[in-house]
Symmetry: C2
Subunit: 322 residues, 2 copies
């Protein structure tokens, strides 16, 4: 997703989202706005608010509050990022120091709680109980997903099925909720809501699988984090799962060694191993599969500029380099 | 609040609450139920669910779901306890090891997130948007309160006003929400809802002031935590605020020394200093003042067994020894 891509075309929407993100972050406790701005204004593609915005417009909702409502999804996302960084003891995100290294774990946990509550307060202003219902289910599943991921730390027995369960919950479900809630605000018939819900889910899985591929193939500077970071922190993702299953005993032993203790000088060897067993290609094939599913979901939706943007999204998320 | 007090009289209600707490804690991730049971079933007086239950019944709501709904307030409370214990790096609560020492900070942060989401999912089942509205405001204020408390750590300049702001948010607001949401479910006129809201708020302030007194005067075994624990962890509470303001320069210096580094052998001297300046009496007087306010709020509410229980609550919370 580059400057020439869909984000460029949706510049006006992104600007409105960014404005709403700042406007809604007021708190009479300055530290909250400070930490909030750090996590919210340090890049980020605004994919979740954009998905919501486009879904709502596609479903005929043109409320002037759409940018404000769209921040629900970015605040929820930011809340998980803050708690994640504490859980992972992460030091760098998007090329900048994480909030926990600047303000300490304590403040960051609590600002995460604040952002989650703020998201719910905003959701109440939609005046729809179903919006709250979807969000409460979403955050419950997300918390379960994060816990599953934690339990799978350094679990070299993790299967592709277990991996998909984790990314479904930790990533896809929120993108799905963004699309579904857009549909709810548009009062569309159930099958259109369902198509958008599934679209968000399939797009979200693509997004995360690509993220996990880029962890090995990306450019550290462009990504804003070191290569092989997931593996270093014990997150076993699809390429490694595939390689472990295919590898010779010797290569498997070497991969296991790396999984526990990845050093910068091992990164090239790791990439070569993943290449040797076709593991990156296998992951790309899966990402493409889910992109096709998402595009099939679009078939059931009405034509128009939003649908075109959605289709462009599916392609750019698959092809992105960071 | 002893075995002969109001909890004994409300035994049936407490049993129903406890059952609902376990029933609603199911998750297909066993660790969640495990950590959840640890924090939820390790004592606790169920004051928040009881306040809700009594308020709802007083307002004419007799839904069979009241025990299930009442768990909203205990789950929210447990979520803050879990995050608090991580924030404070606490090792002991209610005489038992804290969850973070057993399962680690990471799991505990995420199970806290889960319990918060679970509470909101349950709130959605009340089918009232206003319930969600009150809860979202409550959790936002609570998060701000926790952050304020964190910012005031070791702040010997904290005023009584600043202290009241913190305890209002971190404790009283949730008890207030429990009462208010009971009233909402009973569809009572605004002034009755307001009386219950204020009752919960004033009772909550009493509760926290007494808690903060007991931190100095209580029995360590009965309390399940060491004496002077708040001060040791840098939480400056009313008795210390009062003593610092009244003390001679010499005594103030000694108090400041203790505030940064309280050792068990200093506890008696600390108690003597608080006694010398009448600081515990001053705190007790404030607690009594809020009890009287809470009792005045009851005047505006209809007579009946719930009102009698509420009055008994105000007295027992003031007189409790743990």
């Amino acid at each position: 997703m580059g400057a020439k891509g869909i984000l460029k075309e949706l510049e006006k929407e992104v600007a409105a989202i960014n404005q709403a993100l700042v406007d809604n972050l007021q708190s009479h406790v300055p530290l909250i706005s400070e930490v909030g701005r750090h996590i919210l204004l340090s890049g980020g593609k605004r994919i979740r608010p954009l998905l919501f915005l486009l879904a709502a417009r596609m479903c005929g909702c043109n409320s002037p509050d759409l940018p404000a409502f769209s921040t629900i999804f970015e605040y929820l996302h930011a809340a998980t990022l803050l708690h994640d960084d504490v859980v992972d003891a992460a030091a760098v995100r998007r090329g900048r120091s994480t909030a926990n290294t600047i303000w300490g774990n304590q403040a960051v946990i609590l600002v995460g709680d604040f952002l989650l509550s703020k998201a719910l307060s905003l959701a109440v202003t939609t005046d729809r109980l179903r919006v709250l219902k979807v969000l409460a289910q979403t955050t419950t599943l997300m918390a379960e997903g994060e816990i599953l991921q934690l339990l799978h730390t350094n679990n070299l027995q993790l299967t592709e099925e277990g991996y998909l369960e984790v990314i479904n919950r930790k990533t896809a479900i929120l993108m799905s909720a963004a699309c579904q809630i857009g549909a709810i605000l548009g009062d569309v018939p159930p099958q259109q809501e369902e198509a958008l819900t599934q679209f968000g889910l399939n797009l979200g899985i693509t997004f995360q699988v690509v993220d996990d591929i880029l962890d090995f193939t990306g450019d550290a500077r462009e990504m804003g984090k070191p290569i092989g970071n997931d593996l270093k922190e014990g997150r076993i993702t699809l390429p490694v799962i595939h390689a472990l299953a295919q590898a010779t005993p010797q290569d498997r032993a070497r991969l296991q060694e790396m999984a526990h203790n990845l050093k910068p000088e091992m990164v090239q060897e790791l990439r070569d191993l993943l290449q040797k067993y076709g593991s990156l290609d296998r992951a790309r094939a899966l990402a493409r599969e889910y992109t096709l599913k998402a595009q099939a979901n679009l078939e059931d939706l009405p034509p128009g500029p939003e649908k075109d943007y959605f289709r462009a999204f599916t392609e750019e998320l698959l092809d992105r380099t960071y």
